[in-house]
């Protein structure tokens, strides 16, 4: 027995480089980005990093497209390359690219949204000084590339340990990114600390869950767990507690109630482009991991976890919708909206069917585009002190800048699920999957919460259009080309996926098969 294991450890695992290329490229580019920070002269860093990051993501996306149709488990069972994995990786790459546009915007504020030295004590003389200085951090690029690479690995991880490593790889850069806002430094640092501490707790739960599942199944790879769920002679309690703890880690990252409390604070405090990145890409990655764990590893326990997760979905939708009503800050409002939306995705996930998988994938992409555009517009509404995020400051925005107010209204209608937007097609997909899987109660809850959350969205619309502009209504800054491109892409995708969703529906339909 022992010799067997020794022999196995000595054998090099076979690596399918083509299938792993999307992640390898990003990690490689991330390392090069770190070197650029060390070597390149200060002036050249920003353009070099930007070009490098864009090329890196584009190359990674190309590799994903080339790998399309692959279905295999590689790297000694650590990574699964299959339809959902590749689709999620592609979504992360595309959404990441759009978020990168927002992150790279430097014409709204001298030096961009990030400070050069995040470690300077907040509100000190030196800190105020650096806020007005033109230089900004370019370390954000390698951090973002590492984070995106980690997300891709997370969506493709085929055993719990790889998943844990990927979780940390994509989380740690995010914690740092949250702390680097140029304005409202204290809020930003508080957000980072909160995210880090709670994230560490969640990781600990996740890790302990892995240990318990290993105790039950004797394996950490998903196929092994799948086989053990029915056959293992060990105490079933180990499985349940382990699954619950693993789930807590995943639910935390996906911002599902009751593990959502960090979301509003972090979304509000983080630099808005980073918030956009988290709302779009982290959500995709987190649900990618959740989907794989639920569909591949624990599929046979679905009768046990479905009611519990169903209750969590209802709670999430309710908490997101009800608390959104009371918000007075646009970033917090969008944070609660993202919580509610995570609940709708979970409704699709819990169908535990091909349709459920496909509709969840569709929802994640549709929501990602909309939320990127929405946060993109938030970065534009600013005055001398930076972004004006308090809702009262948005009063009469429709008069001052009808174009952006129209776009934002359109995005809000998409979040509310009005037809001819991607929000409607996405919701229809998950509701249809859920009803087909006899989860009608989730759909009823979804419908009721949709009605509740329409109110805060409408309130913003009322603010923008029906209220008279006040003294303090900030004008919308003229966006630089990058933000304009990001907002345009996001809004156009929201419209197109609402009117002609068929191509993406086909893609999700074809992708919706996991390998085990």
């Amino acid at each position: 027995m022992t010799t067997d294991i020794a022999a196995e450890t000595l054998k090099l695992p076979s690596l399918d480089y083509a299938a792993l290329a999307p992640m390898l490229i990003l990690f490689g580019v991330g390392c090069v980005g770190v070197l650029v920070e060390a070597i390149a002269p200060k002036k050249a860093r920003f353009p070099v990093q930007l070009v490098l990051a864009v090329l890196g993501i584009a190359a990674s996306l190309t590799a994903i497209v080339l790998a399309a149709g692959t279905e295999k488990v590689t790297a000694a069972g650590a990574v699964a390359v299959d339809g959902p994995g590749l689709f999620l990786q592609g979504s992360i790459a595309v959404l990441g690219l759009v978020a990168l546009l927002l992150i790279s915007e430097r014409s709204l504020e001298r030096g961009g949204a990030f400070v050069a030295q995040a470690a300077v004590t907040a509100n000190s003389e030196a800190d105020r000084d650096q806020a007005t200085r033109g230089s900004g951090a370019t370390e954000v690029y390698p951090l973002i590339i590492f984070s995106l690479g980690g997300m891709m690995l997370f969506a493709a991880a085929n055993d719990l340990l790889t998943m844990f490593v990927a979780l940390e790889v994509f989380s740690l850069p995010l914690y740092l990114l949250c702390a680097m806002a140029r304005r409202r430094r204290l809020l930003s640092q508080e957000a980072a600390l909160k995210y880090f501490l709670l994230g560490a707790f969640a990781s600990a739960f996740f890790l302990f869950g892995i240990a318990l599942v290993y105790g039950y199944a004797g394996r950490v790879d998903f196929a092994g767990i799948h086989a053990a769920v029915l056959d293992s002679p060990n105490d079933i309690a180990l499985l349940y507690i382990g699954l619950a703890m693993v789930a807590i880690g995943l639910l935390f990252k996906a911002a599902l109630a009751p593990f959502h409390v960090w979301t509003p604070d972090v979304y509000q405090g983080a630099p808005t482009p980073v918030t956009a990145l988290m709302a779009a890409c982290t959500k995709v990655a987190a649900f990618g991991g959740l989907l794989r764990v639920l569909y591949v590893a624990f599929e046979r326990s679905q009768w046990d976890y479905r009611p519990v997760l169903g209750a969590i979905a209802v709670l999430t939708m309710l908490v997101g919708a009800v608390l959104a009503v009371t918000q007075t800050d646009i970033k917090r409002l969008l944070a609660y909206s993202s919580i509610a939306n995570a609940g709708y995705v979970l409704v699709g996930v819990l169908a535990i069917s091909k349709a459920g998988l496909a509709s969840s994938l569709f929802y994640l992409v549709a929501y990602g585009f909309s939320v990127l555009a929405a946060f993109g517009i938030v970065t534009l509404v600013r005055d001398a002190d930076g972004e004006a995020t308090h809702l009262s400051r948005w009063a009469g925005l429709g008069r001052r800048s009808p174009l952006y107010a129209t776009l934002f209204t359109f995005l809000l209608l998409a979040f509310a699920g009005i037809p001819l937007t991607s929000g409607f097609t996405a919701k229809f997909g998950v509701f249809a999957a859920a009803i087909e899987a006899d989860q009608t109660w989730l759909v009823i809850a979804g419908v009721i919460t949709s009605a509740i959350i329409a109110f805060p969205y409408l309130r913003v619309v009322v603010m923008m259009w029906l209220s008279e502009p006040g003294e303090s209504t900030p004008a919308v800054s003229l966006p630089g080309a990058l933000t304009a491109a990001a907002v345009t892409i996001g809004a156009a995708a929201t419209l197109l996926l609402g009117i002609v969703p068929q191509p993406l529906l086909d893609m999700t339909e074809n992708a919706a098969h996991f390998v085990r």
Binding site: L413, F424, A432, I435, A454, V462, L466, L505
Partner: protein
Amino acid sequence: MKDFPFLSVLVAAPLVGAIVVALLPKSKAALAKQVALVWSLAVLGLTIVMWTAFKADGDRFQFRESYVWIKAWDARITFEADGIALVMLALIAFLVPLVILASWHDAERSSRSVPTYFALLLTLETTMLGVFAAADIFLFYVFFEVMLVPMYFLIGSYGAGQRQYAAVKFFLYSLVGGLFMLAAVVGLWVLGGHTFDWHELQKADFSTGAERWLFLGFFLAFAIKAPFFPFHTWLPDAGSAAPAGAAALLVGVLDKVGTFGILRYCLPLFPNASKYFAPLGLALALIGIVYGALLAIGQNDLKRLVAYTSIAHFGFIGIGIFAFTTQAGSGSVLYMVNHGLATGLLFLVVGMFVSRRGSAMVGDFGGAGKLVPVLAGVFFIAGMASLALPGTSPFVSEFLVLLGVFTVNKTVAVIATLGIILAAAYVLWMIQRTTQGELNPALTKLESMRKDLSLRETVVVAPLVVLILVLGVYPKPVLDVINPAVSATLEDIGKKDPAPTAVEREAAK
């Protein structure tokens, strides 16, 4: 001519006009109005051609067009029209140019973009035409929801009084109903074999429980839209806050989507559930008749008053639908048209009064007939039509409804007749307090109150008055179109008219 894609052109045309108007610069307000008016008249012309091409004795559904939209869900862009839809389409096409003309100066008062106002009106026309022409349930739902957006901005941006509150209330009420319908639409799609086609779904069989839940999902949305008691509270707010033209469309057409939806979707798709829930529908409608009328009597705001009278009228439409006889059904559909004409006229005339007086309160008027006799005369005609005086078109429909209901349910018919008396009370009292009696001295001080109907306003009210009187005497052209469609709907739910008692006696012998 037969193969001309009438319905898709009809639905798309106003949208194109809306885009054109919206792209005009703010300063070109006059041009925007003219373009909008001409465009809506062209739509009306097309509708008239379509009406002549419709064969009343032909197929139940005509002008069918179907295009693939979202293949994965088998959602198609399918349009077709039966007689019921046809008359509603005609009503919309007829009312919109009048509303545009009546709203000529409305938008200027609000200090907001004038072209946008007319663009919104045309967008609203597209969605209204679409909702009545759609024969694919997905498409119907899309129009049903999207319709809220232009109306929301019409009320919220261009309205008066508590416009923001009214706009949000209107939107949320409709959205809540719409979302429950969405759940039912999804359920229907899953249980009906993954199709949205009306004809396919009509053949589908559901278990009793499922059918009842699906019915309730649809019914709730339509009852809010119509509105039936107790879902009506948004209507007076929206009706009084909306600019007069938008209010005429809101009450005259938009709300008919509710009653139309019950006839087109609830009854044929869920026949057994419809029969099961018919007492509920009758009860809500009856309460609406009495309650709406009583509240109308108590109103001091003219626009709110008209809105409450509409709730009473929707009650009549409701009992006509749930009586399940051809007479009552045809009466209901005819009522939908006539109510659109009569209440549309009433709202527009009230709007003319309000724009002159600067107030909608009944107490601010008094003896206005002495200053503006012609306008007061039109107001009187509109009021008489609203209380269904014989000779005006609503009389025919109300009579048909009561007759049809009486043959199956005498109690309901008798209580509903009470509504007629109450209608006389609120209309006559309203007219008396505003245009009759002693002249309110405050009125004489107002320059605008001394101007009687302008040419523009005459052009607005004349066609409505003429049509109300003509259809009051000779409703046959409309009834000929409606009757086959109503009979077919009743066949869908397997109801036959009760034989006349005389025949029954014959048979017993």
